[in-house]
Symmetry: C2
Amino acid sequence: MTTEQLIAEIKKKKSFLCIGLDVDLNKIPQYLLKEDDPIFAFNKAIIDATHHLCVAYKPNTAFYEAYGIKGWQALEKTIKYLNKNHPEIFTIADAKRGDIGNTSTMYAKAFFEDLGFDSVTVAPYMGKDSVEPFLTFEDKHTILLALTSNQGAFDFQTKTVDGIELYKQVLKTSKSWQNSENLMYVVGATKAEYLADIRQIIPNSFLLVPGVGAQGGNLQEVCKYGMNKNIGLLINSSRGIIYASNDNNFAKAAANKALELQQQMAELI
Amino acid sequence: MTTEQLIAEIKKKKSFLCIGLDVDLNKIPQYLLKEDDPIFAFNKAIIDATHHLCVAYKPNTAFYEAYGIKGWQALEKTIKYLNKNHPEIFTIADAKRGDIGNTSTMYAKAFFEDLGFDSVTVAPYMGKDSVEPFLTFEDKHTILLALTSNQGAFDFQTKTVDGIELYKQVLKTSKSWQNSENLMYVVGATKAEYLADIRQIIPNSFLLVPGVGAQGGNLQEVCKYGMNKNIGLLINSSRGIIYASNDNNFAKAAANKALELQQQMAELI
């Protein structure tokens, strides 16, 4: 998917909502466990109920890997279902990968070609040659971790390196990488006030913003400091939407939560 | 596996060799492609030929993910084969994972419980709460990226943070994390002279050292600066061993390369 297609979809739906598909079998309605593939059954119900309210879905691969082969089958079914029925929706493999060059190429192939995701999240610690292999794929996007939403972000990301914080160093340095126009960045909503500084460095890039809801981030604050002329934001909510209820009408409850966020977003666009 | 068991195995075999099982279907003997599971067939042949010469195997998960479900099945078969036939051998899932707390817990379960690896490599960028979930598993080890063997290591890892390089900051900080005795560290062999400084900070920890061979690192140099009283090193070689030949006798050729390294190691112990 091109960035222009994503922007068009955001404007059409008046939404920049991303729904995180982090399926934990202990948290889904227990009657689904009778299904052949409970994870996919859950995802399908969530997607069917919410696709008109969001512009992106983000399965976190950890939740699928934890269930072994069955988990990977569920992930594959989910992305194929999305690509077939909702090709206009941006898909994010939240995998936080990154390795030496030839290995990053294998990861890029896995997520972009084999599974067919539009984007993948990547960790910056190993530098340029660990990220550039992802950037060579046309109309695919690499979402680099900059400032994450967890407490551990303060261990290294906010430490000062050559006069500026490490996460800003990551933003600045990454702009010089080949095909850097295919970069987006993860910036946690729990640190919304940092967004003004971030926009000084990367005014035009899309930001994937986790941490609204369960982790305490504030939508208005994020938009105030982070929105640009193309919106430039994908706000992720996972647990707050998909686990809104765990009885028979979980999908309807999820849609209600998604609608609430979409309506707030429509006012902010 | 406990650290003591690993040390005993190193002393018994006079080897601290780790063999990287990074299987690329374009590089293996082409007659294996007729097998039901060519990746596992290749790994099994390599393991059968080399297990007496090495103390660890390290599949890089990227190479398996790139082949989708079949790749994950091959990975699962490989680790189960190792655990059944060679439980004395240390196994490393080279996955370079790391995410917010509840997600890291899912990854830890995937690699330690579902697959049954002894250890997993983890990226430090997201800090303490992204790593500690891995450290809670008894007799399992978390191998934290410190200084990697690629050129991109100089983008961020060697930059100065609060007076010392970021990778040293990672080493120092990680020592204060809960169950930090379960930590090992990745330190690239291409930067052997850095090992003296590293040993000042973490004198007792095991180091996983990639980059000997294909990437140009030197075994003697690594041992000179990095060895401690318990050896404290796992030297990885992947391509240099497993692709020593790609004809019918590839396993024998791999064993010869492994023997060469093991003999050099025996002299250095």
